[in-house]
């Protein structure tokens, strides 16, 4: 591990009037680490993601991100131009609904190629080769490269979205319920794929999920959120096998066992 965390969050607070969405959230994310944020619906998980990537203005807090050259930037103080550049080069954002993260009117190949074109790639042959390479990585048949994402199944759309996000080799991937809305067998396959990609590429990722099984499979560390606050955090296995906070105990015990 390098000496500096990739992402460092301190005192992040977001209020909507009297309602608290996130309160004093703080954590470090180290290079190559996958952090899961779990909690019930409405506990502020998605808001946390939006805030720390600067998409949503925060009420208080700091977010520091270590660039490729080792220098540190304060994400929330960046200008919009700098933030969007950082999002293009260093971040990937995988949305819960692949339809939000894909361009449905253009082919799968164009969807994967678009982030590269945004970074200045101007060679059709190379763009197409990269698209085919990534479709293969996410287990989509190369024959489908010219098909519209609308003709894909939900699981394929989600895998296509992942390919589109990873093609630029981001250093931090934010995933919001990546397996939500998929049936269980598709979920399992997607998780398997994600786990492989994360390990192969040495990605750092923050995965927001309400599914403890997803957290268990993907993440090294875990944060449990409730009503905007982090109630417990630690190594995933440790937290799930020996929950300390009553809320975590409730969460863990409420998982259905077949």
């Amino acid at each position: 591990m390098s000496e500096r965390p990739l992402l460092s969050v301190r005192g992040l607070t977001k209020r909507y009037g009297a309602h608290v969405a996130c309160l004093d959230v703080g954590f470090d994310l180290w290079p190559g680490e996958v952090l899961a944020v779990v909690g019930e619906s409405g506990s502020g998980k998605t808001t946390l993601l939006a805030c720390l990537s600067g998409r949503l203005p925060v009420c208080a807090g700091h977010v520091e991100f270590t660039l490729r050259d080792g220098s540190v930037v304060s994400v929330l103080d960046l200008s919009e131009a700098e933030r969007r550049k950082l999002a293009r080069t260093d971040w990937g954002i995988v949305r819960q609904d692949p339809r939000d993260g894909l361009r449905l009117g253009v082919s799968a190949g164009a969807n994967v190629g678009e982030p590269l074109m945004a970074l200045g790639a101007r060679h059709y042959g190379q763009l197409r080769a990269a698209a085919l390479d990534w479709l293969d990585k996410v287990e989509i048949d190369g024959d489908r490269v010219d098909d519209l994402p609308e003709t894909f199944s939900g699981g394929m759309q989600q895998r296509l979205q992942i390919a589109r996000n990873l093609v630029t080799r981001p250093r931090l991937v934010l995933m919001d319920e990546p397996t939500g809305g998929l049936d269980v067998s598709v979920q399992a396959r997607l998780l398997d794929l994600l786990r492989g990609l994360v390990a192969d590429l040495g990605l750092s990722a923050i995965v927001v999920t309400h599914d403890l099984a997803v957290a268990r499979l993907l993440s090294h560390r875990l944060l449990v959120m409730r009503r905007g606050q982090v109630v417990e955090g630690g190594l995933t296995d440790q937290v799930l096998d020996d929950p300390q906070h009553p809320y975590t105990q409730l969460l863990v015990s409420s998982v259905l066992q077949p």
């Binding site: 361009r103 190629g113 945004a118 060679h123 197409r128």
Partner: protein, 276 residues
């Protein structure tokens, strides 16, 4: 014509539009908003171009109006007559005699020279509109030069057709900075925009935008390294004047499949035939 100001628009409006034009010239390719007025012709018929022409025309100007390359189609005839009545300026069909040329869908084949003004009528000024419906977002994309997505469209064209199928209103970068729609001219005319000695003004009446390409400004059509920009070519020569280097229209001449190819630029064709 009594009861109307010179060139129809009142002087305050003309001054407002000239200010917009000056700003547009100062920032080549940038869309300047302006207070577009109701004009006595319907949207889509050149309300933007007419307002730009009305604002820059003077009593000594010579006006030519082109519609789809021709001087004798409805739109061209009406707008020419409109300005003859409201200004009394001399009109012409010859591109080399005109000081102001208002045009729709074509740039004249005759090379323009310094001192001439070409006014183009624009239906939709925003090149990013097809992929981003929000005006706030497209403005941000222009401000931050986020133009990569524009190549997605070219990528799709090559994927579906094997080559870039977009044949008119082909997107360009102006002066290495702003992405611009050249209005629905065929891409055949795109190279004529590059470093043109004339002043090119673009007016969109419904969308209330004016933009400009000042004389000798570099204009580059978007392309891929391995699919360079190309223009249309025809196997035929013009059936009337024999030109091989002009933009040709295909005209159906009977119901038995007969067709002929003729120059779209009527002025160019006639002068070649008369040997002038």
């Amino acid at each position: 014509m009594s009861g109307y100001n010179f060139a129809f628009l009142d002087e305050h409006t003309k001054r407002m539009i000239r200010r917009a034009i000056l700003k547009a010239v100062a920032i080549p390719g940038y869309q300047v908003p302006f207070g577009s007025r109701e004009m006595p012709l319907s949207y889509g018929w050149g309300t933007g171009g007419v307002q730009v022409t009305a604002s820059v025309i003077g009593p000594d100007d010579v006006l030519k109006v082109i519609d789809q390359g021709a001087d004798d189609t409805t739109n061209a005839v009406s707008i020419r007559q409109f300005f003859r009545r409201t200004t009394g300026v001399r009109t012409t069909t010859r591109a080399d005699e005109a000081t102001i040329i208002q045009t729709r869908h074509r740039v004249p084949e005759t090379p323009l020279v310094e001192g001439q003004i070409l006014v183009l009528q624009v239906p939709i000024p925003e090149p990013l509109r097809w992929l981003e419906p929000r005006e706030t977002e497209t403005r941000t994309m222009h401000a931050l030069e986020e133009y990569g997505v524009m190549h997605v469209r070219l990528y799709e064209d090559i994927t579906r057709h094997g080559h870039v199928e977009t044949s008119y209103d082909y997107p360009v970068r102006v002066n290495g900075r702003y992405l611009m729609r050249p209005s629905p001219i065929p891409k055949f005319d795109n190279p004529k925009l590059d470093r043109n000695p004339a002043l090119l003004l673009f007016g969109a009446g419904r969308e209330k935008r004016i933009y400009a390409v000042p004389p000798y400004t570099p204009v580059r059509s978007l392309d891929f390294d391995d699919y360079p920009f190309t223009i249309e070519r025809w196997e035929h020569a013009c059936a009337l004047c024999g030109a091989r280097d002009a933009f040709l229209d295909e005209i159906v001449v009977d119901d038995k499949g007969g067709r002929m190819f003729v120059c779209s630029d009527t002025d160019h064709c006639e002068r070649r035939r008369s040997g002038a």
